[in-house]
């Protein structure tokens, strides 16, 4: 198994207020981990630590770059919860996706033909080929999100991180999004944060529950007993069509 990322005994937060405590997590190639937990439980803080946006108070974090990655900027692709942008800004779908290559620098400079090939491939994967020359302001919410997903993956990162990707799209697109993610998972590990993972349990492979501390479930099903032990106030997660629900919140 190729290890990509390892967090050991991480404590982190803001202004010396600790939000996540003693976090241990390892991410391997081809992982598809759903990170769940209540609001304010530290999911976003954990992401920021992994992305290098905040420094942990203590603990160690190590990236394991495969040869072709120079730095964390190309190693990790990130789709934020909501990208704020000017709808009138004169930029095309293709250019927004290509902006994901902004940091790749001159050394790894590819020929125009190579870049066009990569771009076409991504437009195809996202089902956005017909919109490649459209202006970003002409798209619907779901389409915009696909474009920003394209920007996150065009540098072909080893690890893709998504923050609440289902929070501002309609149900129909949500299904399409997860189909796209399943395909991407063949070539990259995915960390997906959600407060409502019930709907996507059939796509993710493993679950990590964050509520100050982190509990890792090496499968995509959690029984209600486990939930009690781990103090995770979420819907029960199963495969198949059985409607399960855990109705009480844990203190």
């Amino acid at each position: 198994m190729n290890k990509l990322l390892k967090l050991e005994h991480i404590n982190a937060g803001y202004d010396h207020q600790t939000i996540i405590k003693d976090i241990n997590l390892e991410v391997f190639k081809n992982d598809f981990i759903g990170i769940i937990g209540p609001n304010g439980g530290g999911k976003t803080t954990l992401l920021k630590v992994i992305l290098g946006l905040i420094k942990p108070f203590s603990g160690t974090m190590e990236y394991y770059f495969p040869g072709e990655y120079k730095n964390t900027k190309t190693f990790i692709g990130y789709l934020p919860q909501q990208v704020s942008f000017d709808k009138k800004f004169p930029i095309s779908v293709s250019d927004v996706i290509l902006s994901g290559l902004i940091s790749s620098g001159r050394k790894s400079a590819k020929t125009k033909a190579e870049i066009k090939h990569i771009l076409d491939d991504i437009l195809e994967k996202l089902g956005m080929k017909a919109y490649c020359n459209s202006s970003i302001g002409e798209l619907s919410g779901g389409q915009v999100q696909r474009v920003f997903l394209g920007r996150a993956i065009i540098s072909n990162p080893a690890l893709l991180i998504l923050d609440e990707p289902n929070s501002f799209v309609d149900n129909r697109f949500e299904h399409e999004l997860y189909e796209i993610l399943m395909k991407l998972n063949e070539t990259m590990a995915i960390l997906l944060v959600s407060h409502d993972i019930g709907t996507i349990s059939s796509y993710i492979k493993t679950i990590a529950c964050v509520n100050q501390s982190l509990h890792y479930h090496p499968s995509n099903t959690i029984s209600s007993d486990q939930l009690k032990v781990y103090n995770c106030p979420i819907d029960i997660i199963t495969h198949g069509k059985v409607p399960h629900r855990v109705l009480h919140e844990h203190k």
Partner: protein, 272 residues
């Protein structure tokens, strides 16, 4: 009329003015597209008006007014960039304060300057016919610098303007780019003051771009069309003002806005 048009090309000042309108079109076409896309029109207005303070001080001490204007424009441009990011004050308030501070300083110093302030009106309302070869040289140098900078860093400028946060997360030196672009904005404003004047300059930076935006939503094409439209507006304004003996700056702006309105109407009629 036709003979008259041929005749005026024999005058050096007229050829200068025509050259100036081409360079104005290039510098304002590119920088204006950046300003409009980034919604910095009010910033540009603030820099323009605050430069009047420099003109006033230069008059008082008998210096070159454009030099004074440059110092004030650069200081206010960089000040706006810095204060809005770092200090605890609203972006538009900073602009309004610098805008009126510059005007106040300019008015006080011009009042204190003994005698009549020559050419003051041409700084306020512009007069493209007073452009001399030094002005042309500076405008030319500025246009070359802008063309080179946008030529080399076009994609980076586009991506940073669209999503600064993302560019920052990718280790791009966003602040450096913003400062350099702000300097180019300030210099473009100062060197174009003689063309249409402080009061009307803002429209050279916004009207051609918005006309171009009626045809295209592509940043590169907006720049390209803006240059053409700005040149059409200023060259036609120059010729019309010459023959009708009316102020050139105002005629140029009037023409630019007329072009904008005509194209809007054509667009509605033909639904393209």
């Amino acid at each position: 009329m036709m003979n008259g048009i041929i005749e005026i090309f024999g005058y050096q000042y007229f050829v200068n003015a025509l050259l100036a309108s081409l360079l104005t079109a290039v510098s304002c076409g590119i920088i204006g597209s950046y300003i409009v896309s980034k919604r910095m029109v009010f910033v540009a207005g603030g820099i323009t008006h605050s430069s009047f303070g420099g003109i006033g001080i230069a008059y008082y001490f008998g210096l070159n007014p454009i030099l004074g204007a440059s110092v004030f424009a650069l200081l206010s441009g960089l000040g706006i960039e810095r204060f809005t990011k770092k200090a605890d004050i609203r972006n538009d308030s900073v602009i309004a304060i610098l805008w009126s501070l510059g005007m106040a300083i300019g008015i006080i110093f011009i009042y204190l300057t003994p005698g009549y302030a020559p050419n003051l009106m041409s700084y306020l309302f512009g007069n493209i016919l007073t452009v001399n070869s030094t002005d042309i040289l500076f405008l030319f140098a500025l246009s070359v610098v802008i063309l080179l900078f946008f030529g080399f860093f076009f994609k980076k400028i586009l991506f940073i303007s669209f999503d600064e946060e993302f560019a920052k997360s990718q280790n791009i030196r966003v602040e450096l780019f913003n400062y350099v672009l702000m300097i180019l904005v300030a210099l473009t404003i100062v060197l174009n003051i003689k063309i249409v004047g402080i009061i009307l300059l803002i429209s050279l930076l916004t009207v051609p771009q918005n006309t171009a935006n009626l045809f295209t939503k592509n940043f590169k094409k907006i720049i390209f069309y803006s240059i053409i439209i700005a040149f059409l507006g200023s060259a036609s304004g120059l010729i019309i003002s010459y023959f009708l003996n009316i102020p050139s700056g105002a005629t140029i702006i009037f023409n630019l806005i007329l072009i904008y309105i005509l194209i809007r109407i054509i667009k509605i009629i033909f639904k393209f």
